[in-house]
């Protein structure tokens, strides 16, 4: 069928314009209004706002808590990427390659945390970490490691590392499924060929599986990085509210505290701009670092 130019453009406009309008309302407008408010001294609770130029940005650079929140965020990014990718890859390979009979059951069990709200996960783990009746401390006592027990979330040293475990636990399932999809797309003949050439399981994993699921791994890593930078706020807010003494504040939770607890909405918006800029830089950097030619055998 031959389409006239006009028909073609009408159809394209029909597809694109509504999406673009939605995108503009729900993404571009908040983005620009966030940027706009970052130049104001505004409590966020009334109409009074005062234009202060880059005052909030100057404050951002002089705020001693900000560098810590950035470090905490990237600590979570690094530990989560390593933890989730290693475990998800391990489970994915195990469930697809090792021909375990109960594979479907495990698939569901591992995916389970993903259908739970992060808030529920946070509350659940707060109980697990509870110093007096929590599972972890009682477990340690049970196996005779009483000296290891501590108020996990109540300690300035241990609170942040304690947040890693629930984050990893909650993240494995989704990425495991993504990787399983990738692995099952790898043709069996490659493994047969590798076996004939004398490759053992490890070599098959490193030389066949890994290069062929690299696109999935790359997307998973990017996704973990982005969701951590934007979303670790929830688990922090639920489990520690940034405390004790700011030792678990990430950029998002500090933004929330400034905007809605301390009534510095303008400054909160400034922190939001910082999160945006850092996320963009991180993603671009990762894209560059993980660039790798597509492998085809």
């Amino acid at each position: 069928m031959v389409q006239s130019k006009k028909q073609k453009y009408t159809f394209l406009a029909f597809c694109l314009v509504p999406t673009f309008i939605m995108f503009a309302i729900f993404t571009l407008y908040p983005l620009f209004s966030g940027l706009y408010y970052s130049f104001f001294n505004w409590s966020g609770s009334s109409q009074n706002k005062e234009f202060i130029g880059i005052g909030n940005y100057i404050r951002l650079f002089n705020d001693a808590i900000i560098p810590n929140t950035i470090i905490h965020d990237y600590f979570l990014v690094v530990t989560k990427v390593i933890g989730i990718m290693v475990l998800a890859l391990f489970f994915a390979v195990a469930l697809t390659q090792l021909k375990i009979k109960e594979a479907p059951f495990y698939r569901i069990v591992f995916f389970f945390p993903n259908i739970m709200s992060v808030v529920v996960i946070g509350i659940l783990w707060t109980f697990i970490y509870n110093p007096s009746m929590g599972l972890i401390n009682s477990g340690l006592e049970f196996i005779g490691l009483e000296s290891w027990t501590r108020p996990w979330l109540g300690s300035e040293t241990w609170a942040l590392p304690s947040l890693v475990l629930p984050s990893i636990w909650a993240g494995i399932g989704l990425f495991m499924l993504m990787l399983m999809g990738g692995i099952s797309n790898v043709s069996k003949s490659y493994y047969e060929a590798a076996e004939i050439d004398g490759a053992n399981q490890w070599q098959q994993f490193w030389k066949v599986t890994l290069p062929l699921v690299w696109p999935q791994i790359k997307i998973s890593i990017l996704y973990i990085v982005i969701t951590t930078l934007n979303g670790s706020f929830v688990i922090v807010q639920v489990m520690t509210a940034g405390g004790p003494n700011n030792s678990t504040h990430v950029m998002g939770s500090y933004l929330y505290q400034q905007a809605f607890v301390q009534y510095n909405f303008g400054y909160g918006a400034t922190i939001g701009v910082m999160i945006l800029v850092l996320s963009l830089i991180t993603v671009l950097l990762l894209q560059f670092l993980m660039r790798r030619d597509k492998v085809e055998y």
Binding site: Y9, S46, S155
Partner: protein, 456 residues
């Protein structure tokens, strides 16, 4: 696709759309800034001419009240009575535990409710006054009388907070932080109820040995529980209202003063001698209160609302005992720093007459008595005799008697609540001190720094 984006017309349309959107978004703000929007709203609701009742009060009256530890039964009663007295007023209630957040957009868009009870998370009287959201009540309040003919301004237990000498809110609830213990446990085991800091320490020493627990707990997630519940009275006892006011307003040198350091040394001692619950850093306020009820700890600083808030979880035989926080030196009276929850009228109230009528209606000795029955706390009105009333909990009549005896308890007023901008960093440093990661000297330096930031 490439061709499509190269097509200039399409690009132009897309750009125009975006510009229009951004412009529309910005301009809606500008409009709302002016007075036009408000007048329109007022004309809409007040427009329909209604027959005036006695006093000429009619129309819609919107009331925003936070429902927390005190529950809402007192409010329901007062509002029901008000409706009977003013049948032409249509009362619209906005209430709940998150009502401050839910109503925020109304306040931002200059369309506030008429009457607001300022309490709970997400509300700040200081912020509202600074943003010009509350009506100046200085002159009007002079004319209000209680049922016996006493002037309201002469009958407050604690006078309204003043901002530059003007009154913007009337303190409705007289609450005070103090230290709770289980009277039944103390009587059974013969533990001493503290009367000053030294006896507090010795009592906790005894409990530590007798019960094998860390005696003192508070919420580590919300360090202001300890700050307001223990330290404000301690500062007041050490340096009077002047020191307290300087600390709250962040005056230069207040946090590093000798009296402050001495008080913080006491906190350091509490930490060093292991009086604090070792896990308190992670606890939110309900968890800490639960620990207290389960006898994992023996003392907890909370306000009068504790028994009401935990009503569903109180173990059998638990008997609430309340003392003002015993942080003062031996020989001194206890110190109490009241925490007031005010009622205010919005500057842009659409029905100010009805709002005033309601506020006047609520401030009576009768409702003050009812308040103590419903909530277990005290309304900020003098000469309300709770002793004869069986429905008022025992700890309250006892505390009330104590508060009214200047030999035992000295009341110190604070100028206004501490701003969250100062309270948050100080609370964080305080947490570090309580966990043993900071010394008292380091704490006062940190706090002084926070105060300097706050002043700028």
């Amino acid at each position: 696709m490439n061709k499509l984006f190269k097509n200039r017309r399409f690009l132009w349309i897309a750009m125009l759309l975006m510009v229009a959107l951004v412009a529309a978004a910005c301009s809606s703000d500008d409009n709302a800034d002016g007075d036009d929007g408000v007048e329109e709203d007022a004309a809409e609701t007040g427009g329909s001419p209604e027959t005036a009742t006695e006093g000429g009060i009619s129309g819609d009256l919107e009331i925003q009240y936070f429902v927390g530890g005190y529950g809402d039964s007192w409010w329901k009663e007062v509002i029901a009575d008000f409706k009977e007295a003013y049948p032409d007023v249509n009362v619209i209630e906005h209430a709940g535990p998150n009502i401050n957040d839910e109503m925020r957009s109304r306040w931002i868009s200059n369309d506030p409710p008429d009457v607001v009870y300022i309490d709970g998370a997400g509300s700040s009287e200081t912020q509202m006054v600074e943003d010009g959201q509350l009506m100046n009540l200085t002159e009007w309040v002079e004319g209000i009388e209680l049922e016996g003919g006493d002037k309201l301004v002469d009958s407050f237990i604690v006078q309204p907070g003043k901002f530059d000498g003007e009154i913007y809110s009337l303190p409705l609830v007289f609450d005070t932080w103090g230290t709770w213990y289980d009277r039944a446990l103390f009587q059974e085991k013969g533990y001493e109820v503290p009367t000053d800091f030294e006896s507090f320490m010795s009592s906790m020493e005894e409990i530590k040995e007798g019960e094998g627990i860390d005696p003192l707990v508070t919420s580590g997630q919300h360090p202001y529980y300890f700050l307001r519940g223990m330290l404000f009275p301690a500062f007041a006892a050490a340096g009077g209202e002047e020191l307290l006011a300087d600390l709250i307003t962040g005056a230069e040198g207040a946090w590093t003063s000798d009296a402050t350091l001495e008080t913080m040394k006491k906190v350091e001692r509490l930490q060093e001698e292991g009086m604090f619950d070792s896990g308190l850093g992670a606890l939110n306020h309900t968890q800490s209160q639960m620990n207290f009820l389960l006898h994992d700890n023996a003392f907890i600083p909370v306000g009068f609302w504790l028994p009401n808030e935990m009503a569903n979880d109180i173990p059998d035989g638990f008997d609430f005992g309340f003392i003002p926080s015993p942080m003062q030196d031996p020989g001194e009276p206890f110190a109490i720093v009241p925490d007031l929850r005010p009622l205010a009228i919005a500057e842009n109230a659409e029905n100010p007459d009805a709002a005033k009528a309601f506020v006047e209606f609520a401030f009576t000795r009768e409702y003050a008595m009812a308040f103590s029955e419903h909530t277990g706390a005290i309304m900020n009105i003098t000469e309300v005799d709770l002793t004869e009333n069986e429905n008022v909990p025992g700890y309250l009549t006892e505390a009330n008697a104590m508060i009214n005896d200047p030999e035992q308890v000295q009341i110190y007023e604070k100028p206004h609540p501490m701003s969250a901008d100062l309270e948050t960093p100080i609370g964080n440093a305080l947490m570090s001190l309580m966990l043993g990661n900071m010394t008292a000297e380091e704490f006062v330096e940190e706090a002084e720094k926070a105060a300097a930031d706050y002043r700028n």
